[in-house]
Symmetry: C2
Subunit: 308 residues, 2 copies
């Protein structure tokens, strides 16, 4: 029985000004997933982690993706999946996307590359729908493509891989709960045309900066006048972390996905480490436990680490 | 007395989805401007064209730019300017921007390159303010930089030159009047977050397409869900011209600036010519006179053609 093991990375959606369209894969944290094809058509999910996620395939993010693939390809075989999740659910670091993308990516390898990248994303989006009610691809796309991706549209699915700037990412996950659904509901349904124009200047600048490898341009494009002012209210010490990170030499950064994690980009490893210590101490000071991760932008995305 | 002659090109602002931030220089039509330094501090403007534009420097777009430069640099000399305008005022092809940018560009040559590109744009923006009440740079920037430019912000001025795709531009100017001020007033002050997200997906796609030289991506990013549906109402036969141009092989296109001109991008010269004939015949059919221009995207912008 063919069995594979994957390393499935965390992802940072939105990238400050690119709400719902941009995302980036990082190296840390990551989930481990083992997948095997089975003779019987059942889908068996096991979670070897402390998060108490449902293992019923209909209620499990990886499970629903595999069910959809099985149904679409009319497979007579099933899947057995073991997940060791290290990306905490609700962290804003693409935990559900990792399960969903890992399931689609793994199934594709087991089925001898029957699916295109965009087909994998299509099936993985059912996992996001189960997790958050929204069939979005801004975490799944960078997980599967690696690097930074633009989701130009989801219907039809149009994913544009962008360049990978040589930058460090510091991410902090404070142990407070922010539900994606709450964090979406507090957004205003309309925005002023003036703010929208400012925002698309920043998005255009960010994409141009990434493609031209113009690091200062990336830095000064990381501004969000629409979403961050509202969502950041739900994240303790957001303003302090952001302003002190910038003072410490960060290029820019903001909320990771819908939070509560916060990420910052830096050119140098020492800056990224300095920011990591700063983030930790700010949360220590107010007795909020936090996890801090430092990594480069991850150009590969999901990695196959065992295939036997 | 030093005297120079410039060829100052028309420009297409907005590029469909990039309202107020993107602009592109073309070759046709263009204005001719002659500038000379004078011993006396007066600014003399002469229009050798049929448009009846004011020649009082305080009321003339080129004049106000030169006055601002003279004042800022505390010059004891003046300027003598002759303008042969071929870009019709009110065409949506950057007529006022040509006068303003040409004045700043010409003054800078006469003053031996005392100004940076962004300083030229800064002064030229006073001309746009005189013409339309808004100190915008989306036509001036491509006129001075050439090619396609992103105005990431105007305060502070942040201009990003983008790549120049090897494409043909067909532009039609129907002889109907659409005032920039009217065309701005009918816009809604707010937009739905959903449309804004769709729009910034298109802008990000367009910038990525330009930088990656991905021509199909440029084509499918040329969609405007916010401005075009409103402004196009002011332009006769807009929908017919757009849909038939696309059927004839155009990559995409839309309103040039605030209209009434319409532009289309094509990969091949034959397509651009076919679209030109189509545009002309649609306006001929309803007895609206029109001018049609075909050119490549112009990577140079303003050209110095005589220097003596």
């Amino acid at each position: 029985m063919k069995k594979i093991k994957l390393k499935v990375p965390a992802t940072v959606a939105n990238l400050v000004c690119g709400f719902d369209i941009l995302g980036m894969a990082i190296y840390e944290p990551y989930d481990e997933m083992e997948l095997a094809l089975t003779d019987s058509p059942e889908i068996i999910i096991r979670h070897e982690d402390p998060f108490g996620l449902p293992e019923d395939p209909l209620k499990n993010v990886a499970g629903i993706v595999l069910l959809k693939i099985q149904e679409h390809l009319q497979l007579s075989t099933g899947f057995e999946v073991t997940i060791r999740k290290h990306i905490k659910p609700g962290s804003g670091l693409g935990s559900s996307a990792a399960s969903a993308a890992g399931a689609a990516f793994g199934a594709n390898i087991l089925l001898e590359n029957i699916l295109s990248k965009n087909e994998m994303i299509h099936f993985a989006m059912f996992g996001e729908e189960l997790a958050s009610g929204v069939r979005h691809a801004d975490n799944i796309a960078p997980c599967i493509y690696g690097g930074i991706t633009l989701v130009k549209s989801t219907v039809p699915l149009d994913i544009i891989p962008l360049n990978t700037p040589d930058l460090f990412v510091t991410a902090v996950h404070p142990q407070v709960e922010v539900k994606t659904s709450d964090s979406r509901q507090i957004l205003k349904k309309t925005v002023s045309l003036k703010s929208a124009v400012e925002q698309w200047g920043n998005i255009a600048g960010l994409v141009a900066g990434i493609q031209k490898n113009d690091i200062p341009l990336i830095g000064r494009s990381l501004n969000d006048v629409i979403i961050e002012p509202i969502r950041s209210i739900l994240i303790p010490q957001f303003d302090e972390i952001k302003s002190k990170s910038l003072q410490s030499g960060a290029l820019g950064g903001g909320i990771s996905g819908s939070g509560p994690s916060i990420f910052m980009l830096s050119e140098k490893k020492e800056t990224a480490e300095k920011i990591a210590r700063l983030m930790k101490s700010i949360y220590d000071n107010i007795d909020i436990e936090s996890y801090v991760y430092i990594s480069k932008i991850n150009p590969k995305g999901i990695e196959l680490i065992e295939n036997k």
